[in-house]
Structure formats: C-alpha cells, structure tokens
Amino acid sequence: MELNVIGQDDHQDTGSSCSSGSCGSSNDQMGHLPQEIKDKVKNHPCYSEEAHHYFARMHVAVAPACNIQCHYCNRKYDCSNESRPGVVSELLTPEEAVMKTKAVAANIPQMTVLGIAGPGDPLANPERTFSTFRMLSEQAPDIKLCVSTNGLALPDAVEELSKHNIDHVTITINTVDPEIGAKIYPWIYWNNKRIHGVKGAKILIQQQQKGLEMLVAKGILVKVNSVMIPGVNDEHLKEVSRIVKSKGAFLHNVMPLISEAEHGTFYGVMGQRGPEPEELQDLQDACAGDMNMMRHCRQCRADAVGLLGEDRGEEFTMDKIAAMDIDYDAAMKKRAVIHQGILEELDEKEAKRARLASASVPAAAKPDTRPVLMAVATSGGGLINQHFGHATEFLVYEVSPNGVRFISHRKVDQYCIGGDTCGEKESALSGSIRALKGCEAVLCSKIGYEPWSLLEDAGIQPNGEHAMEPIEEAILAVYEEMRVDGRLDATPAHVAELAKA
C-alpha cells in the first residue's frame, strides 16, 4: 500500500474525517496561498507547522501597558492573548530588548523571528514597541519582526508599522458581535475614557476590523488569533473565521481558553471552563472549511526564547547577556549559512512529498480504513526524538488513507493542575495519559515500563520503535502495521465514546 503525506493536489478525495476539501494538512496549510506569501512565511516558526520544527522564535517583553481588559486575563500577570496566564515576563527597555535579541540570534542561529506580544498590548505602547523595531531593523536586518495586538490602537499604527518593514501582524479577534464582546471585554480605554460593556466592545470590534482591512491594503500579512470560550463564542467563531478570511487574513488560529481559579481571571474565578481537546479540534475542523487553520500555536509566554514548545529564556537573562561578547556581523554570516541549509532541507522534503503525491494510488484503489489519531513526543527537527517521560507536550496527528495531517499539540501540565478537571493529586503520568485522550498510539524515542502498561490499559499503544525517524513516515508505518494486524477494522471503545459525545 502506498500512502502519501497529504499533498497539495489531493483536496478532492478527503476522507470521512475531514469535513471539507480545504482542510489543510500540516504541510499543506499554506497550499492555497499565493507564492509570495508562501515565501514570506516559509521560515516563520509560528506560521508554518513545518518550519516550527526547525526555526526558532523569541519574544521580548517591552510592552507592559494595555488599553483593554479581557476576561481571560489577570493584569498581575502577562497578557493571556499571547501568553500563558499566571506568568510574569522580564520587562525590558527597548535597548535591553535589542541587546537580548542579538545575543539570542548569535547563540541560537535558528532564531529567525522576533515578536513583541506583551506583556500588555504592543500598540498601546507605541514608543517602546516601535523604537525596538527601529533599532532592530538597523542592527539586525536578518531578523523578521512581528507584533500581536488586540486591535484597538491598530488603525493608528498601520502607517508606522508599514515603515518599519514589519510584515507580520497578529490580531486577536474573539468576536464580531458587540453583545458577545461585552461578555469577553468588560471595558476599553478609548479617547481618554474608560468605556464599559457593549459600547466599548463595539468600538473594539470596529477598530479590529478596520485595522485588518488597512493592513491587508498595505500588503502586510495578517494572522488572526481567537480564544475559544465554550458557551460564549465557540459557535460564533465559525462566522469570525469566514469574515476575517474574506477580508484577507491569511491564517486563523483558534486557541483554547486556559482558565483556572488560581489565575484570578474573571473566567477562572467565575468557573468558565476551557474547551476539551476534542471540542477544540472539532471547531478547528469546522473553521478549516472556510480558512486555513493554524494548529501548532503554543501560546508561548511574552519573553519566550527558542523553538516552539521550548523556552530557553533562562539562558538569556539580562545579567547573563551583559557578560556575553557578541560580534553580530560575524554571527549574521553564520546565521545565513545555517538558514540556507535548513531551507534546502525543507525544499527537499517538499520535493519528496510532491513525488509521492504524483505517484499515489487513485482514490478508488485506496484502502478504506478509518482515520486514527496518534501522538508524538518530539523535541524538534521533525523527528521522533523525545522520551515519553520528558514530554511536556505531544503533537497529535491524524492518519488516514489520505495521509497524515497535523491536528494539535496537547500540553501535559494543562490537565493536571488539580481542580475539577482531574483528581486532587493526579500524577504527571496520568496527566500525560489524559492529554492523549482519543489517541490510539504514542510514538516516542523511549518509554519506561510503568507508563507502558498504563498506556496500554488506556487503549493507547506505546511505540518506541521509530526513534529518530521523521514523524510523518513513522506515523504512516505504524498505521500500516495497524492495518495489517486488523486493528483498523473496528473502532476501539474509548475512541468511539469520544466520537459520540
């Protein structure tokens, strides 16, 4: 049986799992985009599922002030639009931020993107944000710049943004309906006044939409982030997805609400729950019909450093940076060579996929086996290279006769902080198992005896036989084994139960 990794041309024969022809696979997410946009996002770890295994990003926390309040945010901590709640980032001056960026770029040559995402709203801190960008454009022109915003101050910033050669902007848009907005945003600061409720939400929504249109008109790439809040905006996000796409956003990223009472947020304290992984996936699938979805966003913190899912911020605190002696010109040369190497590797992979796709069996000849979810423990490089017990998150893929597509990452710690989502003293191990709900196999480099048997009991087959192999090929191999063993004939009870719910 010849299975291919879903390529750009097999949109027609989507399996039952895939509600729409345009449900992008991990690699195909960008399939519909014009070439110049594809080129722009190719080595951006936050935009390309593929690139995020290879390239690194960093955030600098230079923007402390905010101009709105969101119900999922507690201002004692970082902004949770872009960051994890309950986290306080190291606030830097623009000069310190530039020093730090150069130090990281010299030490982690894979670092291609510098983002400002908080801890407040970057555009509510225009001087701090723009002076950082201005200095970096001059001193480190090989670093891409991006910025995330709630959108309120966006229309006024577009002109300035277009000057600084910032080609990626993320807007968090949770609704286009002021009534829903009032349930998410208690107030905004606007024209020197605090404006509460529906009136404030309406202004925010108008500014977001206007800002989106203005950016698109300027040729600046726009990604839209939405926080999925069950019972508040979950159904509505399908409409949001449709609208932002029609206005020219190139990617829509639906993120789960993270809400615990100890975060002290409105939603946390009032008992608003976040979505279950499968609810999130269903919504992402539904939105994918209208729009390319991004599924690998890590909601990283405002001072995160490294590959997505990892944070090497500790190595680059201001006192450690002060002790480093950075020759940025030399670093830039080294960086260029390394970037070129990675791009060549990515091109090779793409060419291989294209070959496989063109050689693939016609739809009728494909076995009609059911789709399966599998989880992978990886520390980057597109390989299965992490010990089960070291994984703080798993990448979940769906595999079917149509190939492999990336579905989501699932954090382990997210499910074992106590409270009503799990038992009082749930161990990290049962947290991992919970995070793998709905999966039938987990691929890792190694796994201990105890988790092995617990996973088996939970109906999840542990697999350490594909260590150091490329993720997609290994998943296809395991799927084929399952087919040969007859394990694809019937859906296991624990998976069927989820599908019913």
Binding site: G120, A124, P186, Y189, N192, A261
Partner: protein, 92 residues
C-alpha cells in the same frame, strides 16, 4: 488636590503614558504620583486619566484616600466571589 498610587499597583506603565501633567514617575516598589504636579486632570480631561486606564482595582486613590476604582468594578468579579475562590485555593 492629587491622586495617589498604592501597593496593589503592578507597574504596568499605562498611567505614566497618559498623564497630561507628567505627574507620574517610576519608583520602587511601584509607580508614584507627584502630588505637586498632579492636577487631577482638571482643564485637560473630564476624568483623571490614570484612573481611567489603570487595570487594577484600588491601586489609585482619590485625594481623600478612597479608591478610584472599587473592588469588582474593573474585572467584573464580585468581591465575595473572589474571596471565596481565594479561600478555596488556600485550603488546597
């Protein structure tokens, strides 16, 4: 007449940026208002700007020492609900 900033301030800089009188300054452990410079925004705005943008309840006090933004008015969390959640978390 002047406003003042107290301990619950989280040093977010928002008030500093919007004060028309440059009365707010960075200080440890938190931002402060220079009482001689603060005009309560009279002549510039209807509402004191610092208190209109500050996200933290009870961080800014009026001249009489009463909070400009009372508990529950910014987050929308009823104070008794917050107290209950805090008790619950501490008892774990």
């Amino acid at each position: 007449m002047a406003l003042s900033i107290v301990d619950s301030c989280v040093n977010c800089w928002a008030c500093y940026d919007v004060c028309p009188s440059e009365a707010i300054y960075e200080s440890k452990p938190h931002f402060k208002i220079n009482a001689r410079k603060c005009t309560e925004c009279e002549g510039d705005y209807d509402q004191p700007q610092c208190a209109s943008i500050c996200p933290i309840e009870e961080a800014i006090l009026d001249a009489s020492g009463a909070p400009m933004n009372a508990l529950g008015t910014l987050t929308g969390i009823p104070p008794e609900k917050m107290a209950e959640a805090m008790r619950e978390i501490q008892s774990r």
